[in-house]
Subunit: 327 residues, 2 copies
Amino acid sequence: MSSKTQSEPLCLRAMGSFHVGGRRVQLAGRQPYQRTMSVGGEPVSINPNGTYAVEQMYVQYYLPEHSNGRGPLIFWHGGGMTGAVWETTPDGREGWVNRFLRKGWDVYVCDAVERGRSGFAPHPDIWPEGPITQTVDDVYARFRIGAAAGGYHQDPARRASYRNTRFPVDHFDAFCLQMVPRWTHTNDAMVGAFKALLGRIGKSVIVCHSQSGPLAMRLASENPGLVSAVVGIEPAGLPVPAPNIYDTPTLIVLGGNMDSDRRWQQLSKKIDAFAREFPTIQIMRLEELGIFGNSHVLMMDDNSDDIARRVDAWLQTAMPNARDLPR
Amino acid sequence: MSSKTQSEPLCLRAMGSFHVGGRRVQLAGRQPYQRTMSVGGEPVSINPNGTYAVEQMYVQYYLPEHSNGRGPLIFWHGGGMTGAVWETTPDGREGWVNRFLRKGWDVYVCDAVERGRSGFAPHPDIWPEGPITQTVDDVYARFRIGAAAGGYHQDPARRASYRNTRFPVDHFDAFCLQMVPRWTHTNDAMVGAFKALLGRIGKSVIVCHSQSGPLAMRLASENPGLVSAVVGIEPAGLPVPAPNIYDTPTLIVLGGNMDSDRRWQQLSKKIDAFAREFPTIQIMRLEELGIFGNSHVLMMDDNSDDIARRVDAWLQTAMPNARDLPR
């Protein structure tokens, strides 16, 4: 690790975590069942009846010693991932948590409901469906490391990545380790827990990725005054239902190599149309800035620091009235 | 949060995360299935065939600006929990991550295999059994907040906690939010990933809790020279198989109110017998030090700072040869 450390230490006035939101569910009338708790142990009887705490959200916070006074900035990861996506990059560089801390933001990182340290509810007793799990092959294609299905190969030398990719492809196998199962019926629960978080910490910037893009925009449109700005890193859709009013300053950042990906071509057009409808939405197409080859996880790409700087600069113009304390 | 912040900032020379260990599994010949990815969306076809990365472990690290030079200290949580148990206490005080950082330790916090940000493998395709989930009622009894089954009540005013409990009972509902499902066949995978972690960061102190106590002692006995010391907070058992040789400096910390808990009475006797067999094992019964009422999660109790100080002092005597740099 030592070769990767930053010369400048990170100084925090506070660091910790909490869980927020969720609901209580009672189960009754179920039969106890037997389970061996460890290999070689005796079976014990487990009583499934009682109270369950479900649909809460885990939040870890890092508050820099010298805050920039612009309020909290919350990182909200995408589908099949956790807050870890904002931490260290797969090749060991500092991720956006550290980068935005160094810019003086009060940083909050969440694991969306049902993922990571947020836990998940018993299935089928409380949740109707089980989780889905992504293959490594699918991650390779969907995250635009390499084109379409079939690009992944177990032998790294035989993988078909984009020639111009800025993703650290030599560390793709390390990246895959952070993927986790996800459920597909939990959007309302996710938005509900996030609203509870905003109720606790106040008006915030939301930096979201992929699946959470449309959810964050929905949250902003449904809760005027609670979200100071949205930064959507490659949002995987638009808010459902479509909002009548959307007036939150919003930056949508789109990476490269979308021309060979049918899904992203379509999404890109929809995002254009959405932004034409609501003037507070601005699109940053990295290719239009002469920056080519960014993947779907551009906060891990080799130019992640540069993109973080551009996002931070946009936030400064989008929130001109925020108190900007000296660092 | 501001009322809970420490006056002294935490300064880190590095902070980040990685995943370690695990294995790859290929699935083939499965039928694709349909799933609606979001409420109201169109069903998409999911191909379950391909490569899965499973049984890896998530590790988050915090390296203080001024290290005490005693090497890494790894926190390993108990059953149904994640690394969050070492972070902020339910009533908002600094947890052991911050406390041990302030003592100059290089702190690593893991989510054991299958929990939290480590993710879990598809069931039943790769893992034979599904997870089990604890009720809030069960947590109340098993974590010795209140005696035996039946002590929990939805109305906080009607809960039967121990009179002398040092657990912050007014925040029990917040504590429950951090419980997550667990599997029961993953001990070997957990130990394997932990061994991979030690291979990566080198000889370390392990501070473990409950379920991970016997696993950490097994790891230490099977890998001479990789574990510099074990601190077992209420280990929920002894290593299986029983070791022939065990020479790792080990402190076992036991809380209060075990006299009304049959399971802990038995465990306590077994731990005594184990410690008599191997002289590097020392038991710290808090009641024998005149400290009464500690729960099973004593790192969250109102005297958690005092216990952290005692553990740190023991580590200084147990590792007399470690280089002790000035802070």
